[in-house]
Amino acid sequence: MSNALLLEANGLSIYRQGRTLVDNASLRLEAGKVVSLIGPNGAGKTTLIRALMGLLKIDKGQIESSQGLQIGYMPQKLNLDASLPISVKGFLSLNQSSASDHFLHCAASCDVECIFERPMQSLSGGELQRVLLCRALLKKPQLLILDEPAQGLDVNGQAELYQLITQLRDEINCGVLMVSHDLHFVMAATDEVICLNQHICCHGHPEKVSAHPEYLKLFGQNQAANVALYTHHHDHQHGVHGELIETCNHKH
């Protein structure tokens, strides 16, 4: 499967106040591929994606993106002040026409129509993530950048959200870059994992990375074992994880 190159970064370094936030990172994002960025807290994951979106000055290296690349961004959270009254529909239709077919289609695929009239402040974690994802889709993105999309969700909510993301990837053939903490999903449903701790420790196919000594060093044998245990547990309970691995294997 040959994929169109969307964005490529070479030797990216970012320094702030004498500290190295990102060190010599290179990565390629292609259409139809899901890339996950994992790493411990403070590893520079958010810094790196902000740099890729052009929100941050980079000190070294270069970023090349395809002509007219449209990025859909799903931030970690909104600064939802209680004093700002806004409904889900109001938020989604900021600078957008809420009557267009595209709008309704995005709303339907993220399943947010039933919460259109609810105030944004009243949404649960999962609902808010779906609304943010819908907002990102409205821009007809060729590349989706998601910052910890599953944070604060329970196991079922996470599985649903990730399934939705995979489904959207298949539907509009966009590239996906997501920052993630939950390793068990990363291992199962992405095409490539990048393990970041200021520099890129290791990257490649999820199975390869999970056995990589740098990965084990970074997350510790202990946590790696926990993840394995967790996956095991999950397998028996829901079988969702196993299925996702299957899909992944068939494709590549």
Binding site: M53, G72, Y73, P75, N79, S83, P85, S87, L94
Partner: protein, 275 residues
């Protein structure tokens, strides 16, 4: 207390005397609605105070440099807004510390400068608490022109401005010029501060911006709705204030703010009953 420039209102000259003040009051109230909302949403209340104090510094500068007071006020407010926007982006001290320094620093310096340079010539009380009746038709025309520009800006960029309040990174990725809008919003607040000096005075300007918007929050379910209700609430407060001032001979600026507070109290009480 009677301010120096306060003219005597009789039944014969009432319309003539009140036309310009009421006109400028109405325009300011209409602008205070949406701008007050942004002050609340972006938590800029303290910034409004700092601007008001630097407006006073503008009065002092106008006296010392012998230029038009209105122009000096707009100038000093705009300079404060722009320099604060720079400071906010980098630095070790938090922005409210900076605001505290600039706000009270300019208050102190302007009071000193006004009392030295303008002793006997300047009505300090009028600048602190407003002197609406001193507004003439020239003031009203200037206010109307500024308000038209600001109004068009707010109308056209409303969605982008709300988006910036929600998440600046998201707004940037969506192609909104976040820094430019933030600066323009600050300058807009600087302008309305300068314009409402005569209406409510430097010490009460922030109140005129915040209180109607705060009352509006109770009843609004969209950002634009909140701005419209805030406009209406500011207009009612203005009318209440002018009426009370005429009826009981009390200072107009504080009367308007007291009217706004009354509406705020009513809006909060109404939520108690609806629950």
């Amino acid at each position: 207390m009677v301010s120096l420039s306060k003219p005597v209102i009789t039944n014969t000259n009432m319309l003539e005397l009140l036309l310009a003040p009421i006109l400028s009051g109405v325009i300011i109230a209409l602008l205070a609605g949406p701008l007050g909302c942004f002050i609340i949403w972006r938590r800029l209340a303290y910034f409004g105070d700092a601007l008001a104090h630097s407006a006073l510094l503008g009065v002092a500068l106008g006296l010392v440099l012998q230029v038009s007071t209105q122009l000096a006020i707009v100038g000093s407010c705009a300079i404060l807004a722009i320099s604060l926007a720079q400071i906010k982006q980098h630095g070790e001290l938090s922005s409210d510390t900076w605001l505290g320094v600039l706000s009270h620093g300019s208050l102190a310096f302007s009071i000193i400068a006004i009392s030295l340079a303008g002793a006997g010539r300047v009505d300090l009380y009028g600048y602190l608490f407003g002197d609406l009746l001193s507004a003439d038709l020239n003031d009203a025309a200037l206010i109307a022109a500024c308000a038209l520009v600001l109004g068009i800006y707010l109308w056209r960029c409303w969605d982008s401005l709300v988006c910036i309040c929600l998440n600046e990174d998201l707004a940037l990725v969506e192609g909104i010029a976040v820094n430019r809008h933030k600066l323009l919003l600050m300058i807009a607040i600087a302008f309305i501060t300068a314009m409402s000096m005569k209406l409510v005075g430097a010490l009460l300007i922030t109140a005129l911006l915040i209180i109607p918007a705060a009352s509006a929050r109770t009843f609004a379910n969209s950002p634009a709705g909140m701005a419209l209700i805030a406009m209406a609430s500011a207009l009612v407060a203005l009318m209440l204030g002018i009426f009370a001032s005429y009826q009981w001979d009390i200072p107009t600026g504080p009367a308007i703010v007291a009217g706004a507070c009354l509406l705020f109290a009513l809006s909060k009480t109404s939520t108690l009953f609806s629950k």
